[in-house]
């Protein structure tokens, strides 16, 4: 029995937990949480070989990449952000069709001369000689920003780590531009920020993700396939 058990990680609170449990329920699988909201252990009714654990979404991403849990529900953005090696360490098995949001680059609306990444490359390249410091980007998406800017050929900038209200960073003088996550862009617009025309770095959504780095025996693989078989479309 133990050799065929797999671990499914589910976001531990809020809207994400609710939507995940709804998604499973619509496919005939009821996720139970016997201890209530303060318990971190659960189960799927009728599937004793699946252990359910409740984790914060960012920890699910980390543990999937490390292979400490076998599959889990979290945002695609968190897999990309947690580690450069993240996307290669997992398989995106099912788009859960909620939690849609884009990681975007936004500049002050007043920067009428900057509409594309190549404009930003030009501005960044002589920012330091004009202002005595680097162009500053506020974001919580450090890994994604570094990767994207490297491939765009932009090296002349500094990241200012921002763990909340990133959209306020230009007005408060903490940074010049932002990399932020948005579903409608309205928060950015309300703060006088405009997304570059080619400024979508990543399209994200809640996804059921399988770890490639977990220890997959033939028996556990069978359990996984049976579970995924029940979770079509």
């Amino acid at each position: 029995m133990a050799q065929m058990t797999i671990t499914l990680a589910v976001p531990s609170k809020g809207r994400l937990e609710e939507l995940t449990r709804d998604w499973f329920a619509r496919r005939g699988l009821t996720i139970t949480r016997p201890g209530g909201a303060r318990s971190y252990l659960g189960a799927i009714e009728g599937l004793p070989e699946v252990t359910v654990r409740f984790f914060p979404a960012s920890e699910i991403a980390r543990e999937l990449i490390r292979g400490n849990i076998d599959l889990g529900v979290t945002g695609r953005d968190l897999i990309h952000e947690t580690s450069e090696a993240g996307p290669d360490a997992v398989e995106f098995a099912r788009d859960l069709e909620f939690g849609h949001a884009d990681v975007v680059i936004a500049v002050p609306e007043a920067w009428i001369d900057v509409t594309h990444m190549h404009d930003l490359a030009d501005v960044a390249s002589d920012f330091r000689s004009r202002h005595g410091r680097w162009l500053r980007i506020a974001t919580k998406y450090i890994t994604i920003t570094r990767q994207h800017f490297a491939s765009a050929g932009i090296a002349e900038y500094r990241i200012v780590e921002s763990l909340g209200a990133t959209e306020a960073a230009p007005a408060s003088g903490v940074a010049d531009i932002v990399v932020d996550i948005t579903s409608t862009g309205s928060t950015l617009a309300a703060n006088g920020l405009r997304v570059l025309e080619d400024g979508v770095m990543l399209k994200s959504e809640a996804n059921l993700i399988v770890s490639r780095t977990a220890q997959w025996t033939e028996q556990r693989r069978e359990t996984l396939n049976a579970l995924l078989g029940q979770l079509q479309g």
Binding site: E84, A85, P108, E109, A110, W111, I112, D113, H118, D119, A121, D122, V123, S125, D126, R130, H131, W134, T145, R146, F149, A150, S151, A152, G153, A155, E156, Y157, R158, I159, P170, A171, G173, D176, N191, G192, L193
Partner: protein, 354 residues
Amino acid sequence: MTNAAYRRSQLESLVEAQGGCRATPPLLLSAGPYFDLAGEEFGRRLLLTTDVTGAEYCLRPDFTLPIVADYIANGAGEPAAFSYLGPIFRQRETGPAEFDQAGIELLAQPDGDIALDQVLTFARAALSLYGITPNVRLGGVGLFEALLAQADMPDAWRPRIRHRFGHTEAMDRLLSRLEQAPDLPRTEQPSRDELVEDVTARMVSAGLSLSEGRSPEEIADRYLEQQALDAAHVPAATLKLLRDFLAIKGDALTALREVEALADKHRLFLGPPMKAIRRHLDGLGEARITFDASFSPRLDYYTGIVFEMRGQGGTVLVSGGQYDRLLERLGATAPIAASGCALWVDRMEAEWPK
């Protein structure tokens, strides 16, 4: 006797024999200067830690920066030579790692070409201790800058193209964009005053400081410049020249002849940088030398000639060149000639035939 410890001690003697000062910068360094000099791209390779105030420190990721910073702090200007051998620390995809690195830094030398010869000789001598005849890859930063200065195009495009030198994809994207530039009918531009007023109003309403970062004047000027740029096409012949030039790569003598043919065809005067490259070919002896016109590190303080030396497996064992703009970037008040190289000792040892 030829074991690893013996080769290491031979290398140690070679480093000591460089006639300069043996530099031993601390292992724990302030991270700020690295981010300032090389940006986030290099920053992601640092092993970072913080003090109680949140200030960032890193384990020494290279020798050049602390050596040069120390030289400037002690009053730059006098010719100086430094050599080093010791551990550096970098993040790799597989995790943090410690490497041995050796190298030399020649600063404010009266003749930059002689200094580079000395750097190349040191690198060759070190490789020969490990039985390695390297493949040398040369790049000409000075050559590209000379070509760019003479090529027929609106001036505003030159820094934009220079900025992308060394990043093949970014350069390709820019050239493709220029090749496809449509001949749009120009709409009437608002005046600079109107633009400044408009941008100022937008910044004020968004609560942006008018003086802290980009100013309304800077934005308006760049907007107008950009409109002018869209109208100011780079001639198709110039774009072809750049494409043809950047594609030149191969056996050094053949490649340099191709550069000369191209220069003749476009009536460019590339004599001095070509002569500089040729004179170093002689000093490299039996090594296999290739010249790659598009090769440059992505850091804009490199000048003149840059090089890499690779072993049989194709891994880079030595990289270096001339970086006359580095000292100014680190706070020197006047340009100071600099050249040097860094050797990856562990990779050299791995080349030793088993």
